[in-house]
Amino acid sequence: MASLIREWVGINTFASATQTKLLELLGKLKQENVNTLTILVMGKGGVGKSSTVNSIIGERAVSVNPFQSEAPTPFMVSRSRAGFTLNIIDTPGLIEGGYINDRALEIVKRFLLNKTIDVLLYVDRLDAYRVDNLDRQVVKAITDSFGKGIWNRAVVVLTHAQLSPPDGLPYEDFCFKRSGALLKVVRLGAGLKKRNKQDFALPVVLVENSGRCNKNENDEKVLPNGTAWIPDLVKTITEVVSNGSKSIFVDKKLIEGPNPNERGKLLIPLIFALQYFFVVKPIERAIADDIEKESRPSWDN
């Protein structure tokens, strides 16, 4: 990784309680011999991917522009702390003009070449009430690019979590419903079958990146339900890392897929022979049959 790995100083800006928890979690990871953690952040445009990255790092590592799609190219932030390296890859939004931006996806894939993805953060907004086909397409694009296995390593992140639910719905209920709907789409888009439901118990984490985020007595950023979300997010990430599934290594084959032109090439002589004996010959026989059966005029015998 070519980019300069800086010391993770941003961690110091967190509330001390948060810091403690984070270090605790990192220590846990180190115990499991995980020294590097690469997190890929993906999602539609304008859902708060970059902000989430900044929130985790604790500094403005990625520029955020609320009105424009910011980064046309992916950007990796690397920070190390006590021998532990955290890489977070921020990506541009995958949607443009109502379609998957294939080009953006292509660039992301190229960027990820020869990197290992430990965790995927699939980011969407909590305050979006509906899911649509576009969500499905995004999920599908991710699946097609990195394979189904990536969802074993995924965390669904819902941003803008500080909201008052409509129609006086209890906050928990609303979150449950929203995440349920989104998970359904993810399952569909990822092409996961029902029976795999248990295996893909996708964790959902709520996030509020805004500076107006409520804080608790420990000065930690908390959600309306009282959870301090930064430690919660990191905790979920560590759980995913240690859930036994494999990290995704992005190689050429994964990006380009298997070369379909090579598939079955060795069988061609066999196929050709089979075609001759089981297609051409029967048709020839059928023609001979036709000639036999042909109704001839009475004079032609």
Binding site: G257, I291, S298
Partner: protein, 801 residues
């Protein structure tokens, strides 16, 4: 005795144990008719009708064939006035010496006409002095011999009086055709006597008389009173072909023979006749007709002249219906025994004669080798067979299909050397061997600002040349060059040069293999680089192919064939501005164009070269049933890459098409009958294993894939499956149809490099349904595309399946 043309008769001599009834129709010239003389009246009209009945019946045939070629074509079966030489005077060789013709032999027809013509003229001016008044008191009966030999009598009416039934028979009676006299005709005494003699000797009557009755206006009414001949009942029937049998020489019967000698004489005749029957070839007559006639004989009891007439008509009708246009019942023999023998001259072919004519109609030595023509002739037209008009038509069609002749005539002609024989004469006018043609066109290309300017006028055109029938073996070289701009032909120049070598295994080998070698180029818009529904214009990719192709076609039937060969070609992909492009272009969401779309070629350079084997087997047993296609068609095609070319392409690209046309209702076959409703089921599978450049990917959508979509609008994939069903309901000489179609990429769009289906936002599968009507060559249809749910009208040429 076998004067076919002449009214040859036998006396109904009571002495003879057998009597022969020769050519019961008087003055019937043997004509190869395609229209059967089914009724008694038609036989008389046939002898008087225009001499080329065949010509007219071939007009429709001529038209259908001419539609496919400019050559004027005619199957000319001359109306035959077969004179086998024996008719006149030879005594006919029959029994009882009665076979003597009346001397009119061959020109019976003209004789007839002679008689008939004045009658017509008379009808126009009845008061002209062409005939004489009888000069007798009115309403008296005059015997024939009492009439004056110097007067020309006008016959006002002719009455038949059957003495056995004691009634007057009308003109509908089958005997009426025996008489050549017609009401209104003018005859002198000699003619009337001749007529009587003819009737008396024809063998149909035991006794026949003629008398006149005077009318007040000077005309006479003729009454013919007769007693029909009858013979003992028979329960067997035999039909023999006496066509090429030698004439039996009659022994003159001496007038002063003793009774014993007479008996001996008859016995020897009997023996001769028996031998003759045994030697005769069996007839073609089908057994159902045979049984039918037996039934007629059984029902009748006694064999009467009328019955024989009916049998003759039935037998002749069968022959004509089957196309044996030269067949003729010439005689009934063996009468007064248990078996009736029907003698038929079937029209045996003795010789096939192929002639080439020049432009002026002179016989010349042709360039074409005769074997080429002979192999197109059905076996039935070869010597030793019976001439059949359908076989003649078949020969005509086959020879025309060679495309070598501007005019073809197939003529049956009586063989002068062997009586009863037919020479099939084929007259051919050859087309010019070398032709060249230039056609030009001007196209106006929009110039700056969209307005045409003088400079934007582009001369374009086509130059074609053909050298055909090389060596007289139907080998040909033809080529064409087409450009839309002669000033700048490199822009788009299409050429084709082809050498065709038929009869690869020799012209006498029944195996029909044709070698074709061609150079070609073509330019097509690639349907792979097409946008899906709602996608803005995708920049087009042109696929130029140029190469050499050599293949051998083995024709099994007219429609079923097997072709195999080698193709070597160079494929170049170009963008709109004719620049070679290695990748498809795509429009970016921000409106820009990026040239990093799916690769267009295998090599990645925009130019591919490759060599592969190509084989195609087609089984097609479809046929037209009253204008509707029924049957099935299976096509399998495989392109087998050889690993020769850019990036060593090795692949197996195959497609199988199955189409069946089910007839949903049984219908009678025949002209004017309605066609049946037809259900068409169609399936097409295409697949490729190995290297697959995008220009060889299978595309879905389009008028020959899934209707209702544009070409390639559904997707481009490695394997595809198309299914279609169409039901055709005949309506007023054409048909309306409803269809449903589906195309599916089987999830293999991603197996095409660069996944053009996805890049251009296509779904990869789609269905459509719609209705349409066939209007001549054009299909008008309304198709609903199921992916977007919108329908549209289309006009298409040709058939979908």
């Amino acid at each position: 005795m076998h004067s076919l043309a002449a009214p040859t008769h036998l006396h109904s001599t009571p002495l003879s144990s057998r009597r022969k009834l020769l050519s019961p129709t008087p003055r019937r010239s043997l004509q190869c008719l395609s229209v059967p003389s089914s009724s008694s009246s038609s036989s008389s009209s046939s002898s008087t009708s225009k001499p080329e009945p065949l010509k007219s019946t071939f007009v429709p045939l001529f038209k259908t064939i001419a539609a496919s070629s400019a050559a004027a074509l005619l199957l000319h079966v001359r109306s035959l006035s077969l004179d086998f030489g024996s008719g006149g005077g030879s005594g006919g060789g029959g029994f009882g010496g009665g076979g003597g013709g009346d001397g009119h032999g061959g020109d019976g027809g003209s004789f007839w006409r002679k008689l008939f013509a004045p009658a017509v003229a008379n009808a126009d001016e009845p008061q002209s002095q062409e005939w004489d008044s009888h000069g007798l008191p009115a309403n008296i009966v005059v015997q024939l011999n009492k009439l004056s030999s110097f007067k020309k009598y006008k016959v006002s009416e002719i009455l038949f009086f059957d003495r056995r039934r004691w009634t007057t028979v009308g003109t509908e009676d089958s005997f009426f055709e025996m008489v050549s006299l017609r009401p209104g005709g003018i005859y002198n005494k000699a003619q009337l006597q001749k007529e009587l003699e003819t009737l008396a000797t024809c063998g149909m009557f035991e006794k026949v008389d003629m008398e006149g009755k005077t009318n007040p206006d000077g005309t006479i009414a003729v009454t013919i009173s007769f007693t029909e001949s009858t013979w003992q009942s028979a329960d067997r029937f035999r039909c023999i072909n006496v066509g090429l049998m030698p004439q039996s020489k009659p022994i003159e019967m001496d007038a002063d023979m003793t009774d014993k000698e007479k008996m001996e004489y008859y016995r020897s005749l009997e023996k001769d006749y028996k031998r003759r029957i045994e030697r005769a070839k069996p007839c073609l007559l089908a057994s159902p007709v045979h049984r039918e006639i037996l039934q007629m004989l059984r029902d009748q009891g006694k064999v009467s002249a009328r019955l024989l007439q009916r049998i003759r008509d039935r037998v002749q009708k069968w022959y004509f219906d089957e196309g044996y246009a030269c067949a003729q019942v010439v005689n009934f023999g063996n009468l007064n025994t248990k078996e009736v023998v029907c003698e038929v001259v079937e029209g045996d072919i003795t010789e096939t004669n192929i002639q080439f004519l020049d432009k002026l109609g002179n016989v010349v030595e042709g360039n074409t080798q005769v074997a080429v023509v002979i192999r197109e002739m059905p076996k039935q037209l070869r010597p030793g067979n019976v001439f059949n008009i359908e076989a003649g038509k078949q020969a005509l069609r086959n020879i025309n299909a060679l495309g070598l002749f501007s005019n073809i005539e197939v003529n049956p002609r009586p063989d002068e050397k062997r009586e009863g024989g037919i020479i099939v004469e084929i007259k051919l006018k050859e087309l010019d061997q070398k032709t060249a043609e230039v056609s030009t066109e001007w196209s106006i290309v929009p110039g700056r600002g969209g307005r045409p300017t003088l400079a934007s006028l582009q001369p374009g055109g086509t130059v074609t040349f053909e050298h055909r029938n090389i060596n007289g073996l139907n080998r040909s070289i033809n080529g064409s060059v087409t450009t839309s701009n002669f000033l700048n032909p490199q822009d788009d120049l299409a050429f084709k040069l082809e050498y065709v070598h038929p009869y690869l295994d020799g012209v006498f080998d029944p195996l029909n293999r044709t070698l074709r070698v061609s150079c070609f180029n073509s330019r097509k818009l690639s349907p792979v680089f097409t946008g899906g529904p709602g996608v803005d214009e995708v920049p087009p990719i042109w696929v130029d192919r140029a190469g050499v192709k050599a293949n051998i076609t083995e024709n099994f039937t007219r429609q079923s064939k097997f072709t195999y060969g080698l193709v070597m070609e160079e494929i170049t992909t170009r963008n709109e501005s004719s620049t070679i492009c290695p990748n498809g272009q795509r429009v970016l969401p921000n409106g820009g164009i990026s040239a990093d779309g799916p690769p267009t070629t295998l090599s990645g350079t925009g130019i591919d070269q490759m060599a592969f084997l190509q084989a195609n087997i087609t089984r097609d047993n479809t046929k037209f049933l009253n204008g509707a296609i029924v049957g099935s068609r299976n096509v399998f095609q495989v392109d087998q890459g050889l690993g020769i070319g850019s990036k060593f392409p090795f692949f197996n690209r195959h497609q199988l098409t199955l189409t069946r046309f089910f007839q949903l209702r049984e219908v009678e076959e025949g002209a004017g009958q309605p066609p049946p409703p037809v259900l068409v089921l169609h399936g097409h599978y295409g697949g490729c294993v190995g290297d697959l450049p995008s220009y060889d990917a299978f595309t879905l959508g389009g008028p020959y894939s899934v209707r209702g979509y544009n070409m390639g609008e559904i997707g481009a994939a490695r394997n595809i499956l198309e299914l279609a069903a169409e039901i055709r309901i005949p309506v007023k000489g054409t048909h309306v149809y409803a269809f449903a179609e589906h195309g599916n990429d089987l999830g293999t769009s991603k197996d095409v490099k660069g996944n053009p289906t996805e890049v251009y936002r296509r779904l990869g599968h789609g269905s459509s349904y719609g209705v349409g009507a066939k209007l001549g060559l054009v299909r008008a249809e309304y198709a609903v595309d199921h992916n977007s749910g919108t329908g549209a009208f289309f006009f298409r040429f040709g058939e979908r399946f």
